[in-house]
């Protein structure tokens, strides 16, 4: 399963270090050694990853698993990495920030994996990236784009997706540019207290406030609420013409939409930071007739005009069934991680994590199913394109930027719920 030479080397180094400096230091050196070894051609390259296969993030975690496994199948079909087959070692963290750290510790120090892929969510990426940093591993991830991931001064973290603080900016600018007669007069900004959602709203609120859109509701709610109804009802009571919801999952968005429909409250525009991008899961939960006009910002969608993306979507449908609109954006984020790491391994000629980190910081532009990837000094993808998407007639379509030929006309004002 693991490279014989690398394991022996790792063990020798580990024993020596144990004698010299104690167990913890020994494990660290063993992990580093395992991560920087060149491989005999018959041995696979092992990649360790912790995913939320159960718990709060299980839907996203399992979508990520599909994305990683789809990439694994493709790369192995194409001859593997530098002639080695790729083997994923996936552990479940049950959506738990403590367990995710334990898992990566185990993958590094016990399993001696060659490379690491990131978990799902900012919440889990923060503790996981610290473990990877301690052992000198490059940590390429696709779902940890919040500022808190990059605030720890770690040089090994690279997010292939759109930085979250930029997510709503494009939409806010579009609203601000509307003629005053069409522009919403008021806006509500309810948000979950999640590191992924909270940083997204202030930049958009500033742009809209500058354009004269008055804030009538701006409150944070806990990630796990007993009852969303009073919060959604309070938003409805403000009669805000625009709602920007800081949500991380489908249940949150569904609860707000349901309460809005029950209160006969139809804002002109409704955009949520997460949930509507979950494809068929979102449609099934909220009901097709309630999806019309609902928007979400993101860096990718299944109809994205990119050859690699189209190929991946076709493969996904062939393997798992469904329609393009049903493909979760998590799949693309995970697949992109694999693509970026593969390009780094090929460019550096091995799995030396120090070289990979240096290479990814070199300013090189890489390609992924989400478009170009170029990391800035903190590891954010400065080349990521920002889009806004909308559900129209059961289809998930790109509406922003309007200059992109793939964008269709936005339905504004949004149709009433249930239409």
């Amino acid at each position: 399963m693991h490279g014989g030479i690398s394991r022996k080397r790792a063990r020798r180094l580990g024993v020596g270090s144990l004698l010299a400096a104690g167990a913890l230091a020994g494990t660290a050196i063993a992990g580093s050694a395992g991560a920087s070894t060149r491989h005999a051609s018959a041995t696979p390259i092992t990649i360790g990853v912790s995913l939320s296969l159960s718990g709060d993030f299980s839907a996203d975690g399992q979508a990520f698993q599909r994305g990683y496994e789809l990439w694994q199948t493709d790369i192995n079909k194409a001859g593997g990495l530098l002639g080695h087959q790729v083997k994923l070692d996936i552990k479940s963290d049950a959506s738990n920030p403590t367990q995710v750290a334990t898992n990566y510790q185990d993958l590094i120090s016990s399993k001696h994996v060659n490379l690491l892929f990131g978990p799902f969510s900012t919440l889990l990426t923060v503790p996981a990236s610290k473990i990877a940093y301690r052992f000198g591993y490059a940590f390429v991830e696709g779902a940890g784009g919040a500022p808190s991931v990059f605030a720890n001064g770690l040089n090994n973290v690279f997010d292939v997706s759109l930085p979250v603080t930029d997510n709503l900016v494009q939409f806010a600018k579009w609203i601000a540019a509307l003629p005053p007669s069409q522009r919403p007069k008021t806006a509500a900004y309810p948000t979950s207290n999640d590191p992924f959602t909270e940083p997204q709203l202030p930049p958009a609120e500033r742009i809209l406030a500058k354009a004269g859109v008055k804030t009538v509701y701006s409150k944070v709610f806990p990630a796990e609420v007993t009852d969303y109804t009073p919060i959604a009802d309070a938003v409805a009571a403000t009669k805000a013409q625009l709602v920007m919801l800081g949500s991380v999952d489908v249940p949150t968005v569904t609860a707000f939409i349901q309460a809005f429909a029950q209160q006969h409250y139809n804002p002109k525009a409704f955009i949520a930071t997460g949930g509507p991008d979950q494809g068929a899961t979102f449609v099934s939960a909220v009901g097709k007739s309630n999806t019309n006009g609902v928007m979400v910002p993101n860096g990718w969608y299944p109809g994205y005009n990119n050859a690699a993306s189209k190929k991946m979507v076709a493969e996904y449908i062939k393997k798992y069934g469904g329609t393009p609109s049903g493909v979760n954006s998590d799949v693309a984020e995970a697949y992109s991680v694999g693509q970026v790491v593969a390009q780094a391994v090929k460019a550096t000629g091995g799995t030396d994590n120090a070289k990979i980190i240096k290479y990814l910081h070199s300013g090189v532009t890489l390609q992924s199913v989400q478009g170009p990837v170029r990391f800035d000094k903190v590891g954010e993808n400065g080349a990521a394109a920002a889009f806004a998407f909308q559900w129209q007639g059961g289809n998930f379509v790109q509406v922003l930027p309007t200059t992109d030929p793939s964008s269709v006309k936005m339905e504004y004002p949004k149709p009433v719920w249930g239409s």
């Binding site: 299980s58 399992q62 959506s95 944070v220 709610f221 009852d227 009073p230 919060i231 009571a237 489908v250």
Partner: protein, 293 residues
């Protein structure tokens, strides 16, 4: 602001009724059997999934589907009691029940994940997103229907416990299992039926929960912590306490969310819980003296 507070109180009362229904089974099981049923959350979700499956695959209205799901969960409850709970030794029954029912919960969660996947689903029916306009407020049909059903079922459970011979056996077992045995009550049989009933009522609570929330099997973890808080506040073993505590919890949280901040809603509830328990350690309606084993 005044109308928002009234709306929050209405929301809290209506939602509280549904939570009471989910918690009623938990408190009934503890009251009779000294079992802390950690699996109650997953039973709620199982009930939601059964209603969802009947609605999607057989076109059966979720409320009508309860005529199938309630008996189904009753049988599942009896099966779990027979297969796992009955085998616990009397002495360490309460502590071991936490581990055993947690294991049951994990097993059911796994089966649900395999059967339905981890993707979120929600129960749909014509009344789920609609509401009636009364006295200036929109009252969602699903909560009105759910509250009415909760009231009927809770009254039915109350009548069963206090107006029937079986209920007398249950209450005798609840007061003192050994004494109940001495007067000829088949405590084991009573316990089995009570466990079945406690699980069966979650079918109704689960259906309404599944119609008002998107859910998957993991949702049960959030639920069980809330249900435990409700039955502890209401008093373990007290049916009325479960109703009172559920309404109190939801109204308090909902009003705090509107008047102050949603972030503080849960904290204020738990602060209230601590205050109540410091004054009344057995909860609002709990018995002060622990039952003999």
């Amino acid at each position: 602001m005044g109308s928002s507070i009234i709306q929050a109180v209405i929301d809290g009362v209506l939602t509280g009724g549904v939570y009471a229904l989910m918690a009623a089974g938990l408190t009934l099981i503890f009251g009779v059997m000294d079992i802390i049923n950690i699996a109650q959350g997953i039973f709620v979700i199982l009930g939601a999934y059964l209603s969802y499956a009947l609605s999607v695959h057989a076109g059966i209205d979720p409320f009508l589907g309860l005529f199938i799901t309630i008996p189904a969960l009753f049988l599942i409850g009896i099966g779990v009691e027979w297969g796992f709970i009955r085998r616990l030794k009397e002495g360490d029954r309460t502590a071991m029940s936490i581990l055993v029912t947690y294991a049951v919960s994990i097993i059911i969660e796994g089966v649900l994940n395999v059967s339905f996947s981890v993707n979120y689903v929600q129960i749909h029916a014509w009344y789920v997103n609609r509401s009636v306009h009364l006295f200036g407020f929109y009252l969602p049909y699903i909560y009105l229907f759910g509250f009415a059903m909760a009231a009927v079922l809770l009254i039915a459970i109350y009548a069963l416990l206090y107006r029937t011979r079986f209920g007398a056996s249950v209450r005798a077992s609840l007061q003192d299992r050994t004494a109940a045995r001495l007067v000829g009550i088949d405590v084991r049989r009573v316990s089995t039926i009570c466990f079945g009933l406690g699980v069966a009522v979650t079918a109704a609570g689960g259906m309404v929960f599944g119609a008002t929330n998107a859910f998957n099997a993991s949702t049960s973890y959030d639920l069980i912590s809330r249900l435990l808080a409700i039955v502890i506040l209401g008093g373990l073993g007290s049916m009325g306490g479960a109703l009172g505590a559920a309404v109190f919890m939801l109204v308090l949280e909902d009003v705090v969310a509107v008047v102050w901040s949603p972030v503080w809603a849960t904290a204020v509830f738990f602060a209230a819980l601590v205050v109540v328990l410091s004054v009344r350690p057995a909860g609002l309606f709990g018995r002060q003296v622990a039952r003999a084993q």
